[in-house]
């Protein structure tokens, strides 16, 4: 092996601010060879972003590097004076960040922001610098680069902003690119474009890349070697093929087992109990020990050493010490399926029947604030859900899927349409009558931190629905009901008297579920209920939702952008694009036989947590989601559609049935 490009040795970083300093990074060591893509993977709060910022020496004011060495091409970065460090930043090492929307200066043209980097590190000035900027923007495949260079960040889409960030980073052909969650904030089709771009640039320029991500799929598609981080430490390092073929550390194994796409429908996911330990305390042994179901007696007391688990594959776990090698083979089988076979539930009549739902927001302009247009957030959506079934509503951000959920609850007043719940039209009800019917349909939201009022005790929050809807006889009945609900979502009854800030994201989401269940709804709208959670916690919540459905025969409208989660949860799927449903069918039909080009592209864009899966050759969508204010004529999808035909431009396609259950709105069949 050649000399490493980057060598991190025993790096420790503290973050001050709380009562005790947080050991965000604690004794981290790894190496990256020239031209290699090295992924650092872990859940939120494990210290992976702090590692990246420590290497760049760009820590926030509260952060401080407590010790260790970081060598770039043999030069110890931590010993350099700041001025020398500035010469290296953006020149030999560059970095791109998670939020492209926030990472660019909002009042400076993007061309100037790229040029700044060029001028800082090269002798290029004037026209030569401008030419270089254009070259860079073209290298990141910025459409219409010359015009875009003169625009401001707010005029660009998220994907384009991230391209600009990459162009800035590439300005001086760095030897190392650090990419901190580069695609997390992007939609899946745009993520696929950016990942392709990164992979190509890295290969064509022989640049090494430190990729920081929580997404095993991204690791599989992009990286060559991977390190798993847990609670400030690396617990496993391996080449990507070996890692995906056989993860060694119990934590890594659990991560894989909690991926919905790996579990298969009908099986409970392997969730990791508990949550990540706080990093302001001292650890004696293995940090994962208390959540590990294969823990040995010594795990709690002694820090495990590095053990070989294969070629270039090392793991920090006592199970791989010479004596206990056999233990891991005795892994627990996944839990038996918990949800009832969906075919057992008769779905003759539907519980929810939405037809022609429209939610338009007027756009006012001019002197008299006349309505000059309508943002058609939801533009004629029809769907139905049978009792005890789950409809997955999937689409990219801005497609209107959340508005559908809120519209049918009348949290946003729909413009037109019918929402029949158990035979009664929700939209025709008067406000007072609607209040009484609200108990039938409840909602669970995305952000567990915003879904509970920080000033209201858990017990009171759960009682609110019972009181508002007049459910229950007296206070004592309500209290016992709340105890039952908490038990049902796996929380002890003493939770009642506590306030939300004492709970983790996963626990809060359980409480939110209990709150929705309190009034015994028939249908729950789950609006991205797990997208703010780590994958292991997501597994807990998905298991809970499945179990509740099995026990109570609930129906779910499950809204998500995550195909794997939808595939795991839903019986039927509806795919939305720009306010309309473009394809609908059973889960098997849509996932394995998608008919609409958009569905196909969406499925192809999902990074698969398997390095053998070859993403090249699949469909890649160009461009971004158009504005729902001014949707393209004809089929809304035609400007991005690889199979667009002349008629697609002129006429919105009609309904095409492919099976009794599968319908697509596309001209391709005609």
């Amino acid at each position: 092996m050649t000399a490493p490009l980057l060598r991190v040795e025993n790096l420790s970083t503290l973050v001050r601010g709380g009562a005790a300093p947080l050991r965000a990074v604690d004794g981290l060591s790894f190496e990256i060879a020239p031209g290699e893509t090295f992924a650092l993977v872990g859940e939120s709060g494990c210290g992976k972003s702090m590692t990246a910022l420590s290497i760049m020496r760009l820590l926030p004011d509260a952060g401080e590097i407590a010790g260790g060495r970081v060598e770039l091409q043999g030069e110890n970065l931590l010993a350099l004076p700041e001025s020398r460090m500035r010469d290296l930043r953006g020149h030999r090492m560059a970095m791109i960040f998670q939020e492209p929307g926030l990472s660019l200066n909002p009042v400076m043209t993007v061309g100037e922001q790229v040029a700044e980097s060029v001028r800082r590190h090269t002798a290029l000035r004037g026209a030569a610098a401008d030419a270089r900027v254009l070259e860079l923007l073209e290298a990141v495949r910025m459409p219409d680069a010359r015009r875009r260079a003169a625009e401001y960040p707010f005029q660009l889409s998220g994907g384009m902003k991230q391209r600009v960030m990459i162009a800035i980073a590439l300005a001086c052909d760095p030897a190392l690119l650090i990419a901190d969650e580069p695609t997390t904030a992007l939609d899946v089709t745009v993520q696929a474009q950016v990942l392709d771009l990164l992979r190509e640039l890295q290969q064509s320029r022989g640049m090494a890349m430190l990729l920081i991500t929580h997404d095993l799929g991204v690791v599989a598609q992009v990286a060559q070697r991977v390190a798993v981080m847990y609670a400030g430490q690396i617990v496993e390092t391996a080449p990507v093929p070996a890692f995906f073929a056989g993860p060694a550390h119990p934590y890594s194994r659990k991560l894989f087992a909690s991926l919905p796409e790996r579990a298969g429908r009908g099986r409970a996911l392997a969730a990791i109990p508990g949550s990540v330990p706080r990093l302001d305390r001292d650890f004696a042994g293995c940090r994962f020990a208390e959540r590990c179901d294969a823990a040995l007696p010594q795990c709690a007391g002694t820090l495990p050493q590095w053990h070989e688990a294969g070629r270039d594959h090392v793991v920090r776990c006592h199970l791989y010490g010479s004596d206990e090698r056999g233990v891991m083979s005795d892994e627990r089988k996944p839990e038996p399926p918990t949800s009832p076979d969906s075919s057992l539930i008769a779905h003759h009549s539907s519980l929810l029947e939405v037809s022609g739902l429209k939610v338009w927001f007027p756009v006012r302009k001019g002197l008299l604030q006349r309505t000059v247009g309508q943002v058609r957030a939801v533009d004629g959506v029809s769907l139905s859900i049978a009792p005890g079934r789950t409809l997955g509503l999937v689409g990219e951000s801005g497609c209107g899927k959340t508005t559908v959920g809120k519209g049918l609850l009348r949290l946003i007043e729909p413009t037109a349409g019918r929402v029949m719940v158990d035979g009664e039209d929700f939209l025709a009800l008067r406000r007072r009558d609607l209040r009484l019917r609200r108990r039938d349909v409840q909602i669970i939201f995305q952000d567990p931190y915003a879904s509970l009022n920080p000033r209201v005790r858990i017990g009171d929050a759960l009682e609110e629905g019972l009181l508002a809807l007049g459910v229950g006889v007296d206070a004592r009945w309500r209290q016992s009901r709340i105890d039952e609900l908490l038990a049902e979502v796996g929380l002890p009854p003493d939770v009642k008297s506590r306030y939300p800030h004492e709970f983790s994201g996963g626990q809060r989401q359980r409480i939110a579920i209990a709150r929705a269940l309190a009034v015994q709804p028939k249908l729950i709208v789950c609006d991205e209920p797990t997208s703010a959670l780590d994958v292991s916690v997501q597994a807990q919540i998905l298991n809970l939702l499945k179990r509740l459905q099995g026990e109570r025969g609930l129906s779910y409208l499950f809204i998500s952008h995550n195909m794997a989660v939808i595939e795991y949860m839903a019986d039927d799927i509806a795919v939305m694009y720009l306010g309309r449903i473009v394809e609908r069918g059973t889960v098997a039909e849509v996932m394995h036989g998608p008919r609409h080009p958009y569905t196909r592209a969406l499925l192809a864009a999902v990074p698969v947590a398997d390095p053998r899966h070859n993403p090249r050759g699949t469909i890649r969508l160009a461009g971004d989601l158009p504005s729902p204010l001014n949707p393209p004529s004809g089929c809304h999808f035609h400007p991005r559609c690889p199979a667009a035909m002349p008629q697609c431009r002129e006429q919105y396609p009609g309904r095409n049935s492919w099976s009794p259950t599968q319908v697509a709105w596309c001209h391709l069949r005609d």
């Binding site: 909602i443 939201f445 000033r455």
Partner: protein, 472 residues
């Protein structure tokens, strides 16, 4: 001597405020999420030092907010009450209040500031500095005896103050030891190492500073005019202490009186949006478009005319001055109301989109209840910050307004009237500087303490600002 307690309107509001604060403190104590920011305030050294200083001002203000009339000796059985309304503070400061001189005298002086023509026993007239009636009257030979006497008295006061301070410090250590469950010695070291959850070290340092100044002053005050006397011979120290209540009332009540409007309108505008929002916005744009000083001036002038034309409604000078003080608070409140309302509206606009509000809507919880239970409690930190941040500005504003002549009633002692009365004497040679200096020192101490405390409160209640401020 029998007394009759008589509450002025402002007294009533002050004691209501105190009761409210005590109630709030008891309510907060049991709720960790409410007491957490206050614990953070307690951990701020500057905040706690400021709070210590402020508590002395508050003590003075509260003493000055219990008014009574004393009984006059009356021949008949019917009790007659004095026409003079006094406060507990007046009683404490009785020697200062009663010890009137003829006109100006310098701090610690024994003679008047200006020469006067006196008739000597032998009938001759002479221009001399006459002896003061009260300041240093106990001295037989003021020329020789004054400074040694001052030094002894001051030293005695200092010694007493230090004794008091030690007692307080040991009390604090014992209390800390009990609450932390350690020995008293460990607690003592913890306090001086700044390791206690509440910054007792800062409290004790501030206490020491206050006592070191207050001790000698208190020891000297019965015998001398420590800060001199003003034009009509009134003790300046007495005036400065009386000004404290005026400043405190304006600083707190002005925001408090109009708080309900700001809160109700701000929350309603943010929650309902639409025409309610338009109306509220129109209202506060209109109000804030009028330059504040002019609006206050216009309103105060109008009130003056009203008072002059309706003398029957205001039986005594004290009551008239008090009503005018409250009216000033309301007018000041109205002009500062708009800023808070705008802030609250903006915050509620953000909060109403939060998911817990939508969850409540999904249960059909009434709008009124959502505003009461989900929105108002979550904007109270802004109200709290506004209250403490506005305080110092209002105290400063009072001085300026009283100077223009649209502040408190001229008969009411305040920092503004003190400065206004003293500034004309700037031109005198030698200068009469002590009234200005006293007003300056007292105001600076009050406003600086309020500003520091406000900073600590703001940092503790607003996590976003705490990040920006915490880097300092």
């Amino acid at each position: 001597m029998p007394v009759r307690i008589e509450l002025l309107w402002s007294d009533l509001l002050v004691w209501l405020l105190v009761a409210g604060l005590v109630g709030l403190a008891l309510y907060t104590r049991k709720r960790p999420h409410l007491s957490a920011p206050w614990i953070r305030v307690g951990a701020s050294a500057s905040g706690m030092a400021a709070a210590t200083v402020l508590s002395f001002f508050v003590l003075v203000g509260l003493l000055d907010s219990v008014h009574y009339r004393s009984a006059l000796p009356s021949p008949g059985g019917k009790p007659a009450w004095s026409t003079e309304l006094r406060s507990l503070l007046d009683r404490v400061l009785d020697p200062l209040r009663a010890g009137r001189e003829k006109t100006y005298s310098a701090p610690l002086a024994t003679h008047l500031f200006a020469k006067e023509t006196v008739v000597l026993p032998d009938g001759r007239e002479e221009r001399v500095f006459p002896r003061l009636r009260h300041g240093g009257a106990h001295l037989a030979d003021p020329e020789a005896g004054r400074w040694p006497d001052v030094a002894t008295k001051a030293f005695r006061g200092l010694a007493l103050a230090l004794l008091l301070w030690f007692a307080a410090a040991i009390g604090v250590a014992a209390m800390t030891a009990r609450s932390l469950g350690t020995g008293i010695e460990a607690a003592w070291r913890g306090i001086w190492g700044g390791r206690t959850p509440l910054q007792w070290r800062a409290v004790l340092c501030a206490l020491a500073a206050v006592l070191v100044i207050a001790g000698p002053v208190a020891a000297l005050a019965p015998y001398y005019h420590v800060l001199g006397t003003d034009k009509v011979g009134q003790d300046v120290l007495y005036q400065a202490l009386k000004s404290v209540r005026t400043g405190l009332i304006i600083g707190t009540l002005a925001t408090l009186v109009t708080l309900p409007f700001a809160l109700v309108l701000g929350v309603m505008a943010g929650y309902f949006r639409g025409w309610v929002d338009d109306l509220v916005q129109y209202l506060y744009t209109t109000l804030s478009s009028i330059p504040g000083v002019l609006l206050i001036a216009a309103a105060v002038l109008m009130m003056q005319v009203y008072v002059e034309n309706h003398p029957e409604l205001f039986p005594s000078t004290e009551i008239r001055a008090d009503v005018r003080l409250l009216a000033l608070c309301v007018i000041l409140g109205i002009t500062s109301w708009t800023g808070l309302c705008r802030l609250l509206r903006g915050e509620v606009l953000k909060l109403r989109e939060l998911e817990y509000v939508q969850a409540a809507q999904a249960f059909g919880v009434s709008n009124w209840r959502i505003m009461m239970r989900h929105l108002t409690p979550n904007v109270m930190h802004i109200v709290m910050i506004a209250l403490v941040m506005d305080f110092s500005g209002l105290v400063l504003a009072e001085a300026v307004l009283s100077y223009i002549g649209v502040g408190v009633d001229p008969s009411m002692i305040s920092f503004g009237t003190m400065i206004n009365g003293a500034r004309l004497e700037m031109a005198r040679e030698p200068m009469v500087w002590w009234s200005l200096a006293a007003a300056f020192v007292f105001m600076l101490a009050l406003v600086l303490a309020a500003n520091l405390f406000a900073d600590a409160v703001r940092d503790a209640f607003d996590p976003r600002l705490a990040i920006a401020g915490g880097r300092a």
